[in-house]
């Protein structure tokens, strides 16, 4: 087993640059999730690691060996595709054995590996079936089996769960996790689903428009988003962002819609700066009117069961920022004025122009 290092990788299609300067070192046995909205380049990056896409500039190394010019088969990787890409005319057994047959391994070796993978994935009874006779989840498992039998240095997953229904997705997610714990193979995993990213990743790479917005452990990305993009992408509903200006020698923050917040500690260097205040909906709580930091008027409420999502807006004229809060259902009023507060440690500040996090 081995790590993958991606160094200053760029990608252009003709004159259009779709990816700029991505670098990440994936450690041996690590599970790294690349997450971002459609078209952010995450699949392209994965395909570059696989060797299905050329690298415009930069370097990709697997197990310390630069693989830029190696064919996919020589990179010692295995890939699982979104639509599974099983060979429709071959049985489950042959689908898994095909790559090994090409490597001219002995029949006994192939059989042992396939049986072992089938055992891990609970496919032993299905080995004679054709892919079209399998359910979506079973096909997904066969696709993983095809990857496992190769015993590669790196697993590459390209949105493997997005063709499954919601329930099966949750189940396969935990199976994937168990599989990784068992095999400890370095894994690169692409998804647009932030829940998948949060639950599976040891580290995640949040991408936007061909750039790496943030690299870090899921909890770190959640609690310290590096930019407003990450703040909006990770977490559901997205983080509330309210524009304002820091005043009073860096002690307070005033936003449109009658929002006045005291900074946890004075930041004289920020005095007069335009910033975005970020607070997650789940960190807002109701409070007495005099303690309130935000006083949105309620627009509508989504009931989720024990919790409710309350959407409102700041400012009496209705032009202030929109605010969402996740509150316990029992304390939610249908309409009117809702005084809300948040703890000082739950507060994030971003630069208004660049969207970058202001550390503090």
């Amino acid at each position: 087993m081995a790590g993958v290092s991606i160094r200053n990788v760029c990608k252009s299609f003709g004159a259009v640059q779709v990816m700029e300067d991505i670098s990440i070192d994936v450690g041996d046995g690590e599970f790294v999730v690349m997450v971002g909205p459609s078209g952010c380049g995450k699949s392209t990056l994965l395909r570059m690691v696989a060797g299905l896409e050329t690298i415009t500039s930069g370097e990709i190394a697997i197990d310390g060996r630069v693989v830029n010019d190696l064919e996919p088969k020589d990179r010692n990787i295995a890939m699982v595709f979104q639509n599974y890409a099983l060979y429709p005319h071959m049985s489950v057994y042959d689908n898994m054995a095909y790559g090994l047959k090409i490597q001219k391994r002995s029949k006994a070796d192939i059989d042992a590996r396939v049986q072992r993978a089938a055992g891990i994935l609970e496919l032993s009874k299905l080995l004679a079936r054709r892919p079209r006779e399998l359910s979506g989840g079973q096909r997904q498992r066969v696709a993983m089996g095809r990857a496992i039998v190769r015993e590669p240095l790196v697993f590459l997953f390209d949105e493997p769960l997005s063709n499954l229904d919601a329930k099966l997705r949750v189940q396969m997610r935990s199976e994937l996790q168990a599989l990784h714990q068992r095999l400890k193979t370095t894994t690169l995993y692409v998804t647009h689903d932030q829940v998948e990213a949060m639950t599976l990743a040891q580290r995640m790479l949040v991408m936007n428009a061909g750039r790496a917005e943030q690299i870090g452990a899921p909890l770190e990305v959640y609690s310290k988003p590096a930019s407003t993009f990450v703040a909006g992408f990770i977490g559901s509903p997205p983080m509330n962002l309210i524009a304002g200006r820091i005043g009073d020698k860096g002690r307070t923050l005033a936003c449109d819609g009658d929002v006045h917040v005291r900074l946890p500690e004075p930041r004289p260097s920020l005095d007069g700066r335009s910033v975005l205040l970020g607070v997650r909906p789940e960190h807002l709580e109701t409070c007495p009117e005099r303690d309130a930091a935000l006083r949105p008027d309620i627009d509508f409420i989504e009931l989720l069961g024990s919790d409710s999502l309350v959407y409102g807006h700041l400012g009496a004229d209705g032009r202030g920022a929109r605010v969402a809060a996740r509150l316990h259902t029992s304390i939610v009023a249908r309409e009117g004025h809702l005084p809300l507060r948040f703890g000082p440690e739950q507060m994030h500040l971003f630069d208004l122009d660049s969207g970058k996090r202001i550390e503090g």
């Binding site: 060797g51 095909y98 090409i102």
Partner: protein, 282 residues
């Protein structure tokens, strides 16, 4: 339609039965005529029940042709026709599937240009280019040969186009999965593309078998020896001069023989044929 109306049922069945009878009746007359003697067939009106000369008539045409018209044995012609009708579809399918594979899966300069070159020839049927083709075949010394009979009919834009369309429906990920599995292009072709194309190939085979079997104009031009005639030409050459001079019973027996192989191919391959036209197994 789910409604149940007895009158509608009756009318639609009547229409279908009349239609089927209209198509089948000439075939039946052909069959009856092929079992009669020359004298019986010349009486007016001709009888519509089978006679007792079936074996004699068929033996006569298979071994010796007619006595008044062409004396070439139909047996040999059937062999020629079978060779033509087999070589043309097999050749067509092998060449088309390879060129379609190249056009879909390889990036080479002028790829689209070559595709359109092939595509444009769809507009040029054999008849339009028959004189230059004849000149080429004659200069190559291929008159009166199986090569001459089949080669010019093998190149096929239709089949290339059909395979191309089919290949484009095969997901790209399949080719990529094969690449990661370590399969080279030809390995991918044999292990994945060809097995997936089986039904398309069967459908094309049926269509092209009939196409090859029914060739008339081209063999007429390039064959001058009786030993090279296909059976369709044989029928024509049995008919000489006036109505009374022709042994219609023998001509009809030959016609029956000429109808059999395509009918058999369609019947035997019907399942595959329909699958290839309607089903995509992916």
């Amino acid at each position: 339609m789910v409604e149940n109306r007895p009158l509608l049922n009756f009318v639609s069945h009547a229409v279908l039965i009349i239609g089927a009878a209209l198509v089948a009746f000439p075939l039946y007359v052909t069959f009856v005529a092929s079992t009669l003697t020359f004298e019986q067939i010349m009486t007016v009106p001709m009888q519509l029940t089978p006679g007792d000369h079936l074996v004699e008539n068929y033996r006569q045409v298979l071994t010796g042709g007619t006595t008044t018209g062409s004396r070439a044995a139909v047996g040999g012609m059937l062999v020629n026709s079978v060779i033509m009708a087999l070589v043309i579809p097999i050749g067509k399918i092998s060449i088309s599937i390879l060129s379609a594979f190249a056009i879909v899966y390889f990036r080479f300069p002028l790829r689209n240009f070559f595709f359109w070159m092939i595509f444009v020839t769809l507009m040029l049927p054999v008849e339009v280019r028959i004189i230059p083709t004849f000149k080429v075949i004659a200069d190559l010394g291929l008159l009166n040969s199986y090569a001459g009979l089949t080669l010019p009919l093998i190149a096929s834009a239709t089949a290339t186009f059909l395979f191309r369309q089919f290949f484009m429906t095969i997901p790209d990920e399949l080719a990529e999965a094969a690449r990661i599995d370590g399969a080279g292009p030809m390995r991918f072709f044999w292990d994945v593309v060809v097995p997936l194309s089986k039904t398309s190939m069967a459908a094309l085979f049926v269509i092209q078998f009939i196409y090859g079997w029914n060739q008339y104009l081209w063999p007429l031009l390039i064959t001058s020896e009786e030993s090279m005639y296909p059976v369709v030409i044989g029928i024509k050459r049995m008919i000489v001069g006036g109505d009374a001079a022709n042994e219609w019973n023998l001509v009809m027996a030959t016609a029956m023989l000429a109808m059999l192989p395509p009918a058999l191919v369609v019947l035997l391959m019907q399942k595959w044929f329909v699958k290839g036209l309607v089903e995509t197994e992916k």
